[in-house]
């Protein structure tokens, strides 16, 4: 499976109507593009200007390619997002954290609608993936997290078709998704990974949001992913 994120700063000057139209258009995208799975949006708490997240997935690169060439993608999604669209309501992203994701065998990331997710985008020092994976696993075992997925950010470079490296560079080498029952639980969780990781984390951005599930989002039991 391909797990994919789009992350944006929404223009603070955008009208409420435009923001609602974008939220619905993105969140419920699966109504029109059946290849798109597990669509949910989130309005982000972050120290950055990144305030909107769309999380979703595809069964395979072929499914992703059908999404990319679907009329809905061109006409509706790009209406709000693409630089040359007169109805664009996002602004330029100075964080270099826009389109990211990873490969995974099963949708272990799934959370119930209304649950909370913290996404940690990481720039790790070369060769430190295994060490950070141990740290992440330790953090997940301390209690409070429903799930924890730590992966290499393989999607940023292959955004075009889910397979081919476009050569577009990204600073964000890894992603760490943390699931919580609620925003309150996520806020109450006291992370220790920064202290444990020390110098192997060269940069990090944390994004916290509640899942606003879209069309076709599956019924999910805590800790049990289903396709």
């Amino acid at each position: 499976m391909l797990r994919r994120y789009e992350i944006y700063p929404v223009d603070p000057a955008a009208s409420e109507d435009a923001k609602q139209a974008m939220n619905a258009g993105i969140r419920d995208c699966g109504k029109f593009i059946p290849e798109l799975l597990h669509s949910a949006i989130g309005h982000v708490e972050s120290e950055t200007s990144l305030n909107f997240v769309w999380e979703h997935a595809y069964q395979s690169p072929e499914h992703y390619q059908r999404y990319m060439a679907h009329p809905y993608h061109a006409a509706i999604l790009d209406r709000f997002l693409l630089n040359d669209s007169p109805e664009r309501i996002i602004v330029d992203n100075p964080w270099g954290l826009g389109l990211v994701g990873y490969d995974i065998d099963e949708p272990d990331y799934l959370l119930p609608a209304g649950a909370a997710r913290r996404v940690v985008a990481l720039q790790l020092a070369e060769g430190s993936q295994e060490r950070f994976a141990e740290i992440a696993a330790g953090e997940a075992e301390r209690g409070g997290m429903l799930n924890s997925i730590f992966k290499f950010n393989s999607f940023a470079a292959k955004w075009f078709d889910g397979e081919t490296d476009t050569g577009l560079p990204t600073n964000w080498t890894h992603l760490w998704e943390q699931g919580f029952a609620s925003l309150a639980d996520a806020r109450a969780y006291e992370p220790q990974w920064r202290e444990k990781a020390g110098g192997i984390v060269e940069d990090a951005i944390e994004l916290l949001y509640e899942l606003e599930a879209g069309f076709g989002y599956p019924e999910v039991e805590f800790g049990k992913g289903t396709v």
Binding site: A69, D78, N83, T166, L168
Partner: protein, 106 residues
């Protein structure tokens, strides 16, 4: 409906005082960049600047189908000229829209 060929109709609203600047941007920067990405420019039309209202500038593009648009989109997205032209247009434009249209049987 067969979604081919794809006609992309861009309509921009610009102030009378800005319309020549905007048309020059379209002619000199937007059209060459889009053409290099494989998008055909069918027409550039504008309403009259002499009727006491904002000028509507309509550019119609064409590609064979949505697969072709997807490839063109990748190519212009990777072209720094497209980013610069898009940013310039956004500062001039007061509003507008982009719509994807297809031939219908008569």
């Amino acid at each position: 409906m067969e979604h081919a060929p794809v006609h992309i109709v861009d309509t921009a609203i610009v102030a009378v005082g800005d319309h020549e600047h905007f048309l020059a941007l379209v002619r000199d920067e937007v059209v060459p960049t889009m053409r290099d990405a494989g998008v055909e420019c069918l027409s550039v039309l504008a309403s009259s600047p002499e009727i006491g209202e904002d000028v509507e500038v309509q550019v119609t593009w064409r590609v064979a189908d949505h697969q072709a648009w997807n490839v063109a989109r990748r190519d212009f997205f990777l072209d720094p000229r497209w980013h610069a032209a898009s940013a310039s247009a956004a500062t001039i434009r007061k509003g507008g829209k982009r719509r994807f249209l297809y031939p219908v049987e008569e």
